[in-house]
């Protein structure tokens, strides 16, 4: 049986590119200001979602085909771009998981290789969506962007006529900034919700699909519960998590630090215990629109908060109870 030392030894032999990526990664704390820096910033901060991953505490995953888009690590980075000057939707090179989602690789494949890479032809080009207007890679600017004929209604996937040929790009989520003190409705409005609703689903905390939520009354009630909530910001959110710890255990082994603006822990080993407390019953509500965009709402019933992008919202006890009931109905 493999042990950790063997694994660690093998890990030590992985390709240089992973080491360089890790060693040169020096990204600043996530900030929304100056979006025009996104070419470097968004790639570094991984602000895009691969169809599923607005993480708790406002961070997101962006699985991609290559390590190349990490501007912090590589000169030959692939950058995101904006279409027709619309900064809300930032398109990134498609990831493997997104290829799976859009059925661009045969079922059962676990990674991208030459033989299973979808070859785009002119027949795949749908209507013209527009042109690339903003991209750190200046050679991309002015490139024509087309709908993918297989998904003509979706704005979430497109084909770009680049200098290297046709390439898939995706924008799985919208970059909607909600200032502290503003309400969550801005997020729904940006997605055209609830009118644009295609599906609503329930995921576990590790993004495993649990069930769809189909009942119209339930969907309406869920939207109502998520609407009109005030973004209280990360720091207040951290305070709530620290308070939840104190309420449960009556000590400050995990507490809010004014200095760092986050929860700090006396012993790293307490993290597991804290996660059990905070993440109990955590659910992700995945809302997919008719344009193919996903809005992920990460809900923490144990703390009574939900997060969405980089905004954080609190629910009352009765709202938590109602939401739990509605989400249980989806199971």
């Amino acid at each position: 049986m493999m042990n950790a030392a063997q694994f660690s030894s093998a890990l030590g032999k992985v390709n240089d590119k992973y080491i360089m990526e890790a060693v040169t990664y020096e990204c600043k704390k996530k900030k929304r200001s100056g979006w025009l820096k996104w070419g470097a910033l968004a790639a570094c901060l991984c602000l895009a979602v691969a169809g599923f991953a607005v993480h708790q505490f406002g961070t997101v995953d962006v699985p991609r085909d290559t390590v190349g888009e990490d501007d912090c690590a590589h000169d030959s980075a692939a950058y995101g771009f904006c279409l027709n000057g619309n900064s809300t939707a930032v398109y990134y090179p498609i990831s493997f998981e997104e290829r799976v989602r859009y059925e661009l690789v045969p079922k059962g494949e676990v990674g991208l290789n030459e033989s299973n890479t979808y070859q785009i032809t002119e027949a795949d080009l749908g209507d013209l969506m527009g042109t690339v207007t903003d991209c750190k890679d200046e050679t991309m600017i002015g490139s024509q962007v087309y709908h993918f004929a297989k998904y003509p209604e979706h704005d979430s996937i497109c084909i770009v006529d680049t200098s290297n040929g046709y390439e898939f790009y995706v924008c799985s989520w919208l970059d909607v900034s909600v200032e502290i003190g503003d309400v969550s409705d801005a997020v729904f409005a940006a997605y055209g919700l609830p009118d644009s609703l295609e599906t609503m689903g329930l995921l576990s905390s590790d993004f495993q699909y649990l069930s769809g939520i189909d009942d119209e009354a339930a969907i309406k009630a869920i939207f109502e519960l998520f609407s009109g909530k005030v973004n209280h910001g990360l720091e207040e959110n951290e305070r709530l998590f620290a308070q939840a710890w104190y309420d449960a255990y009556g000590n400050d082994d995990i507490c809010y630090s004014e200095e760092s603006g986050t929860c700090v822990v006396k012993e790293p080993s307490l993290f597991d215990k804290a996660h059990e407390l905070w993440n109990e019953g955590e659910r992700i509500v995945q809302i997919t629109t008719n344009r193919g965009f996903d809005l992920m709402i990460d809900y923490f019933p144990a703390v009574g908060v939900f997060t969405c992008g980089d905004s954080y919202y609190e629910l009352s006890d009765s709202e938590v109870e109602s939401l739990n009931e509605l989400l249980r109905g989806g199971l």
């Binding site: 493999m2 030392a5 990664y25 990204c27 991984c46 961070t59 676990v110």
Partner: protein, 185 residues
């Protein structure tokens, strides 16, 4: 100084190469070695040994990227010393904790038939890394390659320590699933 220039100094057998290497990458090397050994003195010795290794390897080697090559030597030497000195039960360092996390992730009641070739495992791990987002990949490498603490990773990535911890927990779960699907555990 550019890496190529440092390599040229090695080729010229100039001791300035070591000084430049230390100026440019010494901090990274010391941090890596210290994370594993949890001893300033041992880390110092390991890094010096690594510089000597570089001196012996270049020429003929022209490593590119230079930093990855250097880090690999530092890590290997530090791990050799770590495992060699376990009789002292050094412990306490980030690497020890990171190993324990991995132990939990890799533990399995099943016994896999035969010895897995290390190269095959490397290939599997690389396959797994490709499934991760760049940021998650950095988190994983920083924790299990560089043995960084949560705090160090948090400072590097701009995430909170808690978020780093949550993410790593999830990544380990994914790793476990990936290795199980690969028939390794």
């Amino acid at each position: 100084m550019e890496d190529n220039t440092i390599i040229e100094l090695f080729f010229d057998r100039s001791e300035q190469a070591i000084r430049e290497l230390d100026d440019k990458y010494g901090k990274v090397c010391h941090s890596l070695s210290y994370n594993i050994l949890h001893s300033r003195q041992d880390a110092e010795e390991c890094v010096n040994d690594a510089y000597l290794g570089m001196w012996n390897a270049i020429p003929p080697a022209r490593p590119n990227p230079l930093l990855a090559f250097l880090c690999r030597i530092v890590r290997n030497l530090s791990l050799m010393r770590y495992h060699g000195d376990r009789a002292f039960k050094r412990g306490g360092g980030s690497y020890t904790v990171a190993l324990e996390e991995l132990e939990g992730c890799l533990a399995s009641p099943q016994t896999v038939e035969g010895e897995l070739e290390e190269q095959e495992l490397v290939r599997l791990i690389e396959g797994f890394l490709e499934t991760l987002s760049p940021e998650n990949r950095v988190l994983f490498l920083r924790r299990y390659w560089f043995a960084d603490s949560y705090g160090e990773i948090a400072a590097r990535t701009g995430l909170s320590e808690k978020n780093v911890s949550v993410r790593l927990t999830r990544i380990r779960k994914r790793l476990r699933r990936y290795l199980a699907e690969g028939g390794v555990i």
